[in-house]
Subunit: 267 residues, 2 copies
């Protein structure tokens, strides 16, 4: 799914929800352990229960990579099961020297069929450019994250008065292929969304932190919405772990539907 | 291998070389393709040819991850083949929210038996702390990298006059478990090594950029050496791709030996 299709899907569904598949074998219902691939079985049922109520899925690759080869297999099966009607994000937070980023871009865009990969900015332009070379593929760069450690560096002020996260956005907007760049901006700091919008008025923002981390949807919309919405609100734990029983998928569907209904007000 | 053992090995071998296994199937000699696992066969021969001339190996995980499940298997086989007489670094540049970094720490320190993992600082303390909780395991944080994009953010000056990379070092030195922290500092910018040494006088530095990227060993030693050496000089392409023929391992051994002999002068 490319950006035009994502915008169309958002407008058509009146929805900008991204469901995060942070699938933790220690947290999924224990009855799933009788399956060959419990994590895939969990994801399959979550996807079936939520696909009508979201426009995107985000797969947190760490939860698969720590299972070694089996985990990568589960990740690929999940990505394939989602299909092509949703915007598929590999939440991998990669960023390395150019020849290494080339490998990651190939892994996520070619070996797997993701539409976007999250990337970390610290190493600068040549660590990101390999992700921006693929037509209809997107790099979602960390700008201001929702965790406590965001204060350590992202909210440091530079000599010119900008916060580091503003510099990251301002600088990267001039990179070749920046029309295929999006930013991660945590919902727990909605007041800073305006600063990002001042620098990137139309760029899509992936917004974690609504739900389990306490961010407010209405505040995010107030400060971050564009004419084409321009937001993907990610919720992971509040949806996929809504219940720990036999009804986990049903409850996940209900929570996604609840968020989806709240979103219709903003169209 | 823990830090005390690393220091002992360095002193005993009079060597502080780290060989980087950035093993690219498109660059290894084509006759290896007859093996079931060409990348492992390449690594096995490189390791046999170089183990006497280095104290550490660094495995660039991207070159394995882009092969999916097979790649992760090759990575694990390589890590096991190195054994316990070398300091084993997973060059993965991870950094994510706490529960995700937990997964990565588990993958690299428990599933695989690496001694250290490279991490990215942008998300701050709670993205790194999961890596600092393991006794005798180490997190090697990006400070000042050797690529052109380092200028974009790492060399930005903050309000207090520090460069961002100095702030990264200064702040992280106060984190719990910081005695298990090391830093990546590129050899292509040796003049900044003094600034890092001013903030972290004894901390080990992993120094890429000698060799293919043009950094000078003598300059790095001049600005960065401590009483216990405190440096791991990484060379990847200049060693492992010293020849593309049947003699690739022999030539790799010769290049490692050449660097090793140069290093003995600094003891």
């Amino acid at each position: 799914m490319n950006l035009a299709e994502l915008k169309h899907t958002i407008a058509h569904k009146k929805n900008f929800l991204c469901v995060g598949l942070d699938t933790d074998l220690e947290k999924i219902p224990s009855f799933l352990n009788e399956y060959d691939d419990p994590a895939f079985e969990f994801n399959r049922r979550i996807i079936d229960a939520t696909r009508d109520f979201c426009v995107s899925y985000k797969i947190n690759t760490a939860f698969y990579e720590d299972k070694g080869t089996d985990g990568w297999e589960t990740l690929l099966r999940t990505e394939a099961y989602i299909g092509n009607a949703h915007f598929k994000i590999a939440d991998a937070k990669r960023g390395d020297i150019g020849n290494t980023s080339d490998r990651y871009a190939k892994a996520f865009f070619e070996e797997a069929g993701f539409d976007a990969v999250t990337v970390a900015p610290y190493m600068g332009h040549d660590s990101i450019s390999p992700f921006l070379k693929y037509e209809n593929k997107y790099a979602i760069m960390l700008a201001l994250t929702s965790n406590p450690g965001a204060d350590d560096f992202q909210l440091q002020k530079l000599e010119n008065g900008q916060y580091l996260f503003e510099k990251v956005v301002a600088t990267s907007q001039h990179w070749e292929g920046s029309e295929r760049l999006m930013y991660v901006t945590g919902a727990t700091r909605p007041e800073y969304l305006q600063k990002i919008r001042a620098l990137a008025p139309e760029t899509f923002l992936l917004v974690p932190g609504v739900g389990a981390q306490g961010g407010s949807l209405s505040e995010v919309v107030k400060h971050g919405k564009t004419n084409a919405i321009g937001l993907l609100i990610n919720a992971s734990r509040s949806i996929i772990y809504a219940s720990n029983g036999e009804d986990f998928a049903e409850k996940a569907g209900e929570e996604a539907k609840r968020l989806a209904e709240e979103m219709t007000f903003y169209f």
